[in-house]
Symmetry: D2
Subunit: 433 residues, 4 copies
Amino acid sequence: MLSERSTESLTMSPTTVAISEALPPLQHQYSAVRQLSETLCRPLEIEDYGIQSMADVSPPKWHLAHTTWFFETFLLCPFLKNYNVFHPKYSYLFNSYYEAVGNRHPRAQRGLLSRPTVAEVYQYRAYVDDAMRSLFSSVPLSAEMTALITLGLHHEQQHQELLLTDIKHIFATNPLRPAYRPAAPKTALAATAPPLRFVEFSGGLHTIGHQQSGFAFDNESPAHRVYLQDFALASRLVTNGEYLEFIEAGGYEKPEYWLSEGWATVQAQRWTAPLYWEQIDGQWWEMTLMGMQPLNLAQPVCHVSLFEADAFANWCDRRLPTEAEWEIAAAGMPVVGNLLEGDRLHPQPAKDSQPVEQLYGDVWEWTQSAYQPYPGFRPAAGAVGEYNGKFMCNQTVLRGGSCATPPGHIRASYRNFFPASTRWQFSGIRLAV
Amino acid sequence: MLSERSTESLTMSPTTVAISEALPPLQHQYSAVRQLSETLCRPLEIEDYGIQSMADVSPPKWHLAHTTWFFETFLLCPFLKNYNVFHPKYSYLFNSYYEAVGNRHPRAQRGLLSRPTVAEVYQYRAYVDDAMRSLFSSVPLSAEMTALITLGLHHEQQHQELLLTDIKHIFATNPLRPAYRPAAPKTALAATAPPLRFVEFSGGLHTIGHQQSGFAFDNESPAHRVYLQDFALASRLVTNGEYLEFIEAGGYEKPEYWLSEGWATVQAQRWTAPLYWEQIDGQWWEMTLMGMQPLNLAQPVCHVSLFEADAFANWCDRRLPTEAEWEIAAAGMPVVGNLLEGDRLHPQPAKDSQPVEQLYGDVWEWTQSAYQPYPGFRPAAGAVGEYNGKFMCNQTVLRGGSCATPPGHIRASYRNFFPASTRWQFSGIRLAV
Amino acid sequence: MLSERSTESLTMSPTTVAISEALPPLQHQYSAVRQLSETLCRPLEIEDYGIQSMADVSPPKWHLAHTTWFFETFLLCPFLKNYNVFHPKYSYLFNSYYEAVGNRHPRAQRGLLSRPTVAEVYQYRAYVDDAMRSLFSSVPLSAEMTALITLGLHHEQQHQELLLTDIKHIFATNPLRPAYRPAAPKTALAATAPPLRFVEFSGGLHTIGHQQSGFAFDNESPAHRVYLQDFALASRLVTNGEYLEFIEAGGYEKPEYWLSEGWATVQAQRWTAPLYWEQIDGQWWEMTLMGMQPLNLAQPVCHVSLFEADAFANWCDRRLPTEAEWEIAAAGMPVVGNLLEGDRLHPQPAKDSQPVEQLYGDVWEWTQSAYQPYPGFRPAAGAVGEYNGKFMCNQTVLRGGSCATPPGHIRASYRNFFPASTRWQFSGIRLAV
Amino acid sequence: MLSERSTESLTMSPTTVAISEALPPLQHQYSAVRQLSETLCRPLEIEDYGIQSMADVSPPKWHLAHTTWFFETFLLCPFLKNYNVFHPKYSYLFNSYYEAVGNRHPRAQRGLLSRPTVAEVYQYRAYVDDAMRSLFSSVPLSAEMTALITLGLHHEQQHQELLLTDIKHIFATNPLRPAYRPAAPKTALAATAPPLRFVEFSGGLHTIGHQQSGFAFDNESPAHRVYLQDFALASRLVTNGEYLEFIEAGGYEKPEYWLSEGWATVQAQRWTAPLYWEQIDGQWWEMTLMGMQPLNLAQPVCHVSLFEADAFANWCDRRLPTEAEWEIAAAGMPVVGNLLEGDRLHPQPAKDSQPVEQLYGDVWEWTQSAYQPYPGFRPAAGAVGEYNGKFMCNQTVLRGGSCATPPGHIRASYRNFFPASTRWQFSGIRLAV
């Protein structure tokens, strides 16, 4: 049954696309994004939808409902005449962290809710999508509404990436190690990665931040000038093979490579390898969305924390890039790479195809930059102002997107952020000098 | 859909019974007990099967699998020739606490397993039931096998009661407060309970413990003599109305009524009423298996800890009975009462039908007796020796069964036990002097 | 300096005794008991008085003040005309657990108080002793006052034992392992204990509990009849050597010997030996009040929890006695043994001097009996009613006193009690059959 | 007795100075710094030296020993011929966090050590000072030794500030609220602060970091260029009166002003005011080193976390400065202010004496800058390389020193850092636009 499902494309069927493309662009985009969330869940059993394998993870069902709640709360309630909420308790159940919207179910207890059922959540989605169609057709969209719908779609795309990382964690927590989808037949993979070179960039005054047309989150603004020293970036990501050398050199046993808080975490959590690595009978394996796989040494290392990325860089006497350095290197590059639409669902070996490769896709790249407001930053007005600004403390910036980042959801100025100990995202390492 | 389900009897259908009664008694009993576990789960949605709402609760799916694992491990593997286990990992997943059988999944993480699915668990049950039929027909059962099968059935009956208390907790944890089944149409309930009297019993030398034929757990043996003072037991259970008086008299705010550890628990957990009571707009409600119901003052109070039972007794200047007192009072009585087969699923008001009523069924009655070995107690040999003896520390004895206790599973010598802070069982209060 | 101190006797100097003996008996006893608390503290440095090395331990300074607070609160305030409390905040600081007396400083924060200083605490003691002298001389003591003073003295004696066990813990926690007093010059100690025999006792109806004149705590009453099976008690305590065999046989690695909660504790706390044992370069040492000493195999094993005592008994296929069995065996025996007045401060090897020896002194003996009220037990009236009764849950009875039990403070009916995991008291093992 | 002590100056006596000034400058400085640590402890009772009132606090005794251990470990052991350590266990006891030096006593258990005694710690100091004198006189100091001694003295100065903040916390934790020294007779304090203005600074390219001769920590280098927008800084610190307005406007109850982690902390810790504020009978008081004092509205607010500083700034629609902005504003200013040598031990009201005042002293000023390496930063070689670099994660920079910062220990480029929730330091708020 799984194999049948797995033949399905991650994007919409030709028929759906045909219908959808006749719609105005924003409505078309709405339809496509909403559809993709459901497509991503198709390999799941009903039982998989409800699990919260750790506090950071949300049950897939919750992602489906929460992204729907966003449109209900910020679009339908204020702007669609006579709209009735689907269920009076859902605002309590599916608000994530918007204090301005009211109380909400405790985050760590999202996995304790058998009801609403999966079927009811899909009904909720259909009900809201239906009302959104009414909204699209009944009124000319104001600039505010357009901005909120666009935000809602990018919000849902973020949850699409989380859906995949959370499902991976749910399956990896289960001693049966189920696969999200079957592994592709083995093709000849690159046995080794191309040699790692450092590519030089000139310092001086540069401008970073969102400067173009098109959507960006508020935390990418204002664009502003920064002064940089000359720097060099690695031509590709660090591989599993290189990271294994670090492990075998005692990397997890020597405090001198680690940030103080990182070393404390290594001790407390007894980390000895990246999150999903397992040594079985002397052989290294890695849990993937395609189930347990032998570790491929040429692939980029993935599911490491900032602490591990930084320790690795210290071990080889390099450093992590700053977010400004990364952005300047990426700014002129086309946004192509191993992203979700490539449907690999796992980072792939570098191909030596260009001077600095793998900037977009494969894995989010830890920078050494704390997540801080840009000079002159102002959060958006209203409840959606809670989207980004209030997290600007004790988080580190990651750049570039991953193999789970949906189409159209990454750009040079995009600032992702997570606490330094985070490992369940597709996060990896690019070195700098 | 729920109402349709609810018409189903908790015992087997006439057809099933007809077939089953033709079998040898133990096999008939096997069939009936195994069937009841599944019948009890029929009102559940697939999503309900996987929830662990607190560490003490197990997901319904886990109960179904664990009781099956018991037969696979203790009967099929050792005694059925050429038996192949259903799945090599299930022994790890569904062993509860038998150290002698090997490692096991951590108890608090039972709710993190979406796989095996509910369908797979039912396949596991069918597979084991099938093999058990082979065992019944292929070999004459030795005394050891008969004893183990009988133990396995009583074990499964204990899990049937847990299934209901765990489902109740799962639903009560959900802000939507779903009902396990719809409430019966309101019939005229007793508005007040009959007056509470104290019935006197003579002390002196008595014998307690299991003395008759029929199954009993090892902890009920050996029967032995005890010397008691004269004592008196309350003619009925304490009611919600009486307990409400305790609350309104400041019972939860005055340390003088409480055991030291009880008072610390009240403070730490912020208890102000029994577990499932809720005050909404000044009115008391109670979560039941039939959903939220207005508090019925004539019903026995339920879901109280030993700490609350003891504090209530101190408040009204009475005490809890010892387990020996309870057993002597119950020894001569017929085992009838509001048990699971009555299908009420909730304690019912007393009827003044006999001098001491409600001894069996309605609620488990907290005694003041710590759970300790009887003089000369020896645990059973082998892994099943872990069944009872190793818990004889920091637990308190409860007696008499409840409205969730399956048919044939209660007797005067039966010793149930839980930690003093336990509230999610159907546990209540009988006073003594 | 320490050696100078250590020459001091644990009881009063001849001069003090001479003065004191001229006083009425209760006042004489008051003087002697109060003096002993201070004598016990004489080897301490000022710094030692303030340490709370774990939540169960109280700083020596706190013991000195709390026992004084008892007399101030229960005698001087109600009965001495015009008495002014020494300091208005001391009732808050030095109340232990009497809810009826008011709020109090959190137990776990007793070690955070540098003030009052040690000198101020001694001034507090002198002030209260002075006022007590006024009370003794100013009014004829009522029966209530006599009872309260007597209780206060036995209370202070309990804290004298705690002073020594707490000081031992404070010193054992310090990596410098300081000694409370120097070790005596080595005398020839018994290299091996006498053989262990089991001495038989007849069951049937016996009476236990406090039946004689003289002080007893409320929890020793009422005396009452119990029916026992025939039983046998070991002729002496279990030795370090015997316990070492248990360790070497893998006792701490095999769950089959342990209570479920005991095994969980072994795992969580990583216990591998009694509390104060340390293996250094392959050799076993033991921390004592005389500092680190090589383990003496003939001495009784000490500082074990109930869990360890019970596991040891299971390992050698014996059991622990019940408290009734112990009391019946001890009832006819003279109260002599290695108690505090013998000034050894450590358990000593058995001498084969009588059929059942070491019943009094050396180590408190874990029984298998939960601490429960005797039939008809009523706590004392008023705040002192909180002394014992409210702890009758999740504690286990120990009998017989130890090498730290003050003179006159032990008897056959004395019931000590601690949670099953407790190890810092002088607690050991006597086997039964 | 306290008053006698309090007349003592915080710096050395004239006699000591006379002797000391005859010494070479570094040895003179050594003598002065080492002396000041002891002078700061003179108001303490022996009991005060051992308390650790929370994990962040170290006992005063520990500070005295740890700063001494620094010289023993990094100077005497490697460089003084035939040096014998004072005690073989002290390296274990008094190493703070230097992984390269070996194992160490757990930080949270520093308050459990009654030994070494206070007298022994002073002996340790004298022993090491004596050996340091030998070192100064026996060999010409190499550049490395000079650098290490200088680092050791600045290290000890940091601990002098910690000594005062830790003593304040120890005394504030005690319900008796003792005073470190008596309050000065009341002089007419400014009833209100001067009006708050914003002073403008030009952006563009600036250089920050350590550029001058004289000591600086490694984290102040390398000096480097930064590009800033135009900005304005408040002319003075935020006062208690202004902060009280924030409280009275519901500042602690409205999530919209707070960082997400800040709001979670407010909820979890139940913060309602700065750390040492207490409302007694409707009146605000503040615990100070001079004991409990009525809140002075004109004084700078103190003992607030970054979370509170940031929330306050949001509430009044301002922001906190970046560390670069602060440094550029301070760079040209003389290093004068209410520092330790002024001996006020508490922040003082502004006097409108210059355009931007209170930059140095009074309180450390929270910036909005995460503590990160400057471009090109390299930690010092060897164990002292652990001094700063390994903490560059999840900490926030504070600038400017406080009323507890020792003489010569502050400069424009000085980067102090603490986690965002820290409150026990003298930390306050300067606004920016």
